[in-house]
């Protein structure tokens, strides 16, 4: 009798425990891991224009630095302004509907595209493209991965609480690890302003 009770207790107890473990483990990974990126914590957005890096690089034969370059004063040009796009896209270059829409919505009214920046950093971060490109001689891929080869822009996943992008953003820890690895300075004001 005693033996029976003991085994029953043991069995039932572990079951609840495992159930609880499995349940919360699943909930945690599903709702809070950014792999699935589901509400309520995460939200998804689509870029306002279905820009294809692939078309520009492979088909049009452009280089990264045609649009993203280091200015003479050492600052990074960032995402090109609509003027830059309009240099080629005053008239449609292809036959896609996206391009026609892009010209209709942004180029003609001369309106800046509200791009969603995958690597948007907090407001007190200073990032020097100059130092990473010219001193560390990094390739764009080191930080931006395959961003320059995609055909459709990846879905923009962001946290609804903090409003920061999730997948492609580099967090401070990653910056610091890399700086450590390459023996680069790691002081507050190296990257903060």
């Amino acid at each position: 009798m005693a033996e029976h009770n003991a085994s029953q207790t043991k069995k039932g107890g572990w079951g609840s425990f495992l159930l609880g473990f499995a349940f919360m483990f699943a909930v945690g990974w599903f709702f809070f891991g950014n792999h699935f990126a589901v509400p309520p914590l995460y939200g998804k957005k689509i870029q306002p224009v279905a820009f294809s890096h692939k078309v520009h690089v492979e088909d049009a034969g452009m280089a990264c630095k045609d649009c993203h370059y280091l200015k003479a004063n050492g600052r990074w040009s960032g995402i090109p302004k609509i003027d830059k796009c309009a240099e080629c896209h005053q008239e449609p270059q292809g036959e896609t509907k996206e391009e026609a829409n892009f010209i209709k919505n942004y180029v003609k009214p001369h309106k800046e595209v509200p791009w969603l920046v995958y690597s948007r950093q907090p407001k007190n971060v200073f990032f020097s493209h100059a130092a990473h490109l010219k001193i560390a001689r990094f390739n764009c891929k080191v930080c931006h991965g395959k961003m320059g080869y995609n055909d459709t822009p990846p879905v923009y996943v962001y946290s609804r609480l903090s409003k920061y992008p999730q997948h492609t953003v580099i967090v401070m820890e990653a910056c610091m690890d890399c700086h450590k690895k390459y023996d680069a300075p790691n002081y507050c004001f190296t990257c903060h302003k």
Binding site: W14, S16, G20, F21, M24, A26, F32, N34
Partner: protein
């Protein structure tokens, strides 16, 4: 079936499961990011630089303006400017002036309530111009054109010239510039029969005798004086100059001068003549201007009446100082005596200037290297019809308007703030002026009591020409172009004046807009072919076309260092001003000494501009010995304070024959005993919450003293300090 044990195990298991999932870490991380209290940040954009000229005072500092996209974010010195090497605090605060929404006026305002009540109606420019034109037209139609009173505070001589021309064409002689040094122009006119620019070649001087001029705190061209200070004292152990500051209170200038001689307030003329006595007695004067009958008269009068022995008590300086300084002065190679009390925005006495300038004449240092320089400003030369009349005293005129001795129908105030500078008399005068129109970028004290307020652009938003900075020793001309688009509904006062005169059909103002006038002047300067372009210290020949000249002038300035020619027509040591002034060579003060045992003097600070209210950054920087809470602090010697029974930091009642005010007491060894120093530049009614209602307006209790020559100015008052 759920047992208690089962439930607890589920919870523990769940907790453990959660720990092995991103849940707690993500939540913690997100909460950290979420709870950061991010404050508004500057929007990023492309950086660009452009040139401008500061017009917050008549100093004309060249500026380099930093812009991010279309936003102005910082000002620095223009390295090509011959005037300044850095900026002064006012210039540095330009961005706050530019974007101060609560000070700037957004649209033309028409008064709807009672005067000064603060009820306004925003109207369109067309309506505002109609209103102004019809008022002016009515007055012109009635024939009483002298009823137009124009109070000008423009920093640019071109704008002032345009207003003068407008007044003459309209038919009124009542044009006043708030910063005109009436006394000096009378004295110089009588002594040298000259009317034009007075400059001081301080750069080449080696002995500077300053009669209360706060050289480093806003006198002359502040940016230039600061740069000169660096030049003079490049090696402080071997300075290029000796600066002697004669002033009752140790201002910053006195603190940085080689020597400080604390005289009694208002005795500058006596001190100068005491020094002249020593020079005359010892026969050390330069023969350049001496020997005439007028000199003999001067000499006799000075030797008779101004023996330093007798002056010791009157001036508070000892005889030895007189003799030593006088000897140093005439033994120096390039000595110069400088007038203009404080910042020089209040008139100097005519007799005072005569006394001080006679020192310059005694050492023969006029129109010479390191001396006083007399020349025609370029604008006066290319546009001669604007410089015909002597400046008159605005304060007295306003008083007579208040007393109904003079008729005034319309007051046109252009970028000036007479309601602050003449708080009592302007208030009285307003009752007899039915229509007051104010051109101003800021809601200042005068705008508050006006009937029509017309917003003008801030200097970064307009085309303007800057001529010879105050006190500069040769003519200069530069252009300041707009660096940003105004976000307010402003119009250039020059454009308005030109448009109005066109509608009124006035003659002699043929320009369509203000820019055309500037182009006209640039062409004239170019076609005269004199002078050169100054790029830093480099002299560059004039460009080949007026067009090129125009574009060059937006980055550097035109100057004519050779404008000062050696000879002057005449020099009269003892003109009629001398005869009048010698009767009573100090300023008249009302009140009995028994009731008011102390003397109240104004203290001027560089960070406290007067007509133009101090920007928030400047107010922030005021020491708590000037402003504490909303209480103004007066500066007294500890001895004086103990006489009154008040302690440092305590509240007291400052009484003068003109009224009383509640102040705090700041005890300080840097002021003569028996003297109370009151900061000027606070107590504004207008502007924003950063300035309005803080402290008191010193001009309400300072006396508007009169010299025997009839020139009046704010110099001092009798006062008492009573413990509350």
């Amino acid at each position: 079936m759920l047992t208690r044990r089962g439930f607890l195990q589920f919870v523990v298991g769940g907790a453990l499961g959660a720990v092995f999932s991103p849940l707690p870490w993500r939540i913690a991380d997100e909460l950290v990011l979420f709870s950061q209290r991010w404050t508004p940040q500057g929007a990023p954009g492309d950086e660009s630089w452009c040139y401008s000229i500061c017009q917050l005072c008549p100093g004309g500092c060249g500026l380099k303006v930093r812009k991010i996209s279309e936003r102005v974010v910082q000002v620095e010195a223009n390295p090509l400017s011959p005037i300044n090497r850095g900026v002064c605090p006012l210039g540095a605060a330009s961005v706050q002036y530019l974007y101060g929404d609560k000070r700037r006026i957004k649209k033309p305002l028409k008064r709807t309530g009672k005067r000064g009540e603060g009820k306004w109606q925003e109207i369109e420019w067309a309506e505002a111009l109609n209103l102004l034109t019809s008022k002016l037209n009515d007055l012109k139609g009635s024939g009483a054109t002298e009823g137009l009173l124009c109070i000008d505070g423009s920093v640019s001589k071109v704008m002032s010239g345009l207003l003068k021309k407008f007044c003459y064409a309209y038919g009124t002689s009542n044009y006043f510039h708030v910063n005109a040094d009436v006394g000096a122009s009378i004295a110089i006119k009588e002594m040298q029969d000259f009317n034009g620019c007075v400059g001081f070649d301080l750069e080449n001087a080696d002995y500077v005798l300053s009669f209360g001029s706060q050289l480093l705190e806003g006198w002359g061209a502040p940016g230039n004086l600061q740069a000169l200070y660096n030049y003079w004292f490049e090696n402080p152990l071997k300075p290029k100059v000796k600066v002697v500051q004669i002033e009752p209170r140790m201002s910053d200038t006195a603190a940085k001068a080689s020597e400080w001689l604390p005289n009694l307030p208002g005795t500058e003329a006596l001190v100068a003549l005491g020094l002249a006595w020593v020079i005359l007695k010892e026969g050390k004067y330069n023969p350049r201007f001496t020997g005439d009958a007028d000199f003999e008269r001067f000499k006799r009068a000075v030797l008779e009446g101004f023996n330093p022995d007798k002056l010791e008590e009157k001036t508070g300086l000892c005889k030895d100082d007189f003799i030593r300084v006088a000897r140093e002065f005439c033994n120096a190679k390039h000595p110069i005596a400088v007038w203009g009390r404080g910042k020089g925005f209040n008139s100097t006495g005519a007799f005072e200037v005569l006394a001080i300038h006679s020192l310059n004449a005694l050492v023969g240092n006029i129109n010479r290297k390191g001396g006083t320089a007399f020349f025609k400003d370029v604008v006066d030369e290319v546009w001669p019809e604007i410089s015909t009349r002597q400046p008159r005293d605005l304060g007295k005129f306003i008083e007579s308007v208040g007393a109904k001795k003079v008729y005034a129908e319309i007051a046109l105030v252009c970028e000036a703030n007479p309601a602050y500078k003449y708080p009592v008399s302007f208030g009285n005068a307003l009752q007899n002026v039915p229509f007051v129109v104010t051109f101003t970028p800021f809601m200042n004290d005068t705008a508050l009591v006006s009937d029509l307020v017309l917003p003008t652009p801030f200097y970064m938003e307009k085309w303007e020409a800057i001529t010879t900075p105050r006190g500069f020793s040769y003519p200069v001309f530069g252009l300041s172009c707009p660096v940003c688009k105004s976000s307010y509904g402003v119009k250039h006062p020059g454009d308005v004046v030109l448009a109005v005169s066109k509608t009124l059909g006035l003659k002699g103002l043929p320009w369509d807009n203000y820019r055309n006038l500037l182009q006209y002047l640039v062409e004239k300067i170019w076609s005269k072919g004199k002078g050169c372009l100054l790029k830093g210290n480099k002299k560059v020949a004039l460009p080949s076309s007026p067009r090129q000249m125009w574009s060059e002038l937006t980055t550097c300035v035109w100057a004519n260092p050779e404008a000062v020619s050696g000879g002057i027509k005449k020099f009269d040591f003892a003109p009629s001003v001398f005869a009048e002034g010698i009767k009573r060579p100090v300023w008249s003060v009302e009140g009995k000494s028994e009731d008011y045992p102390f003397t109240l003097i104004p203290c001027e600070y560089l960070i406290l501009p007067q007509d133009l209210g101090a920007a928030p950054f400047l107010v922030k920087q005021l020491p708590d010995t000037v402003l504490k809470g909303s209480d103004l602090c007066v500066e007294v010697h500890p001895e004086t304070a103990s006489q009154c029974g008040v302690k440092n930091g305590e509240l007291a009642l400052l009484q003068t024959p003109l009224g009383q005010a509640r102040v705090r007491v700041f005890c300080n060894e840097c002021i003569r005993p028996g003297i109370i120093g009151i900061p000027v530049g606070l107590g504004h009614k207008g502007y924003d919450e950063y300035l309005a209602g803080k402290g008191i307006n010193a001009y309400t209790i300072l006396g508007y003293n009169e010299e025997a020559t009839g020139v009046a100015s704010y110099v001092m008052n009798k006062a008492n300090l009573v413990k509350i």
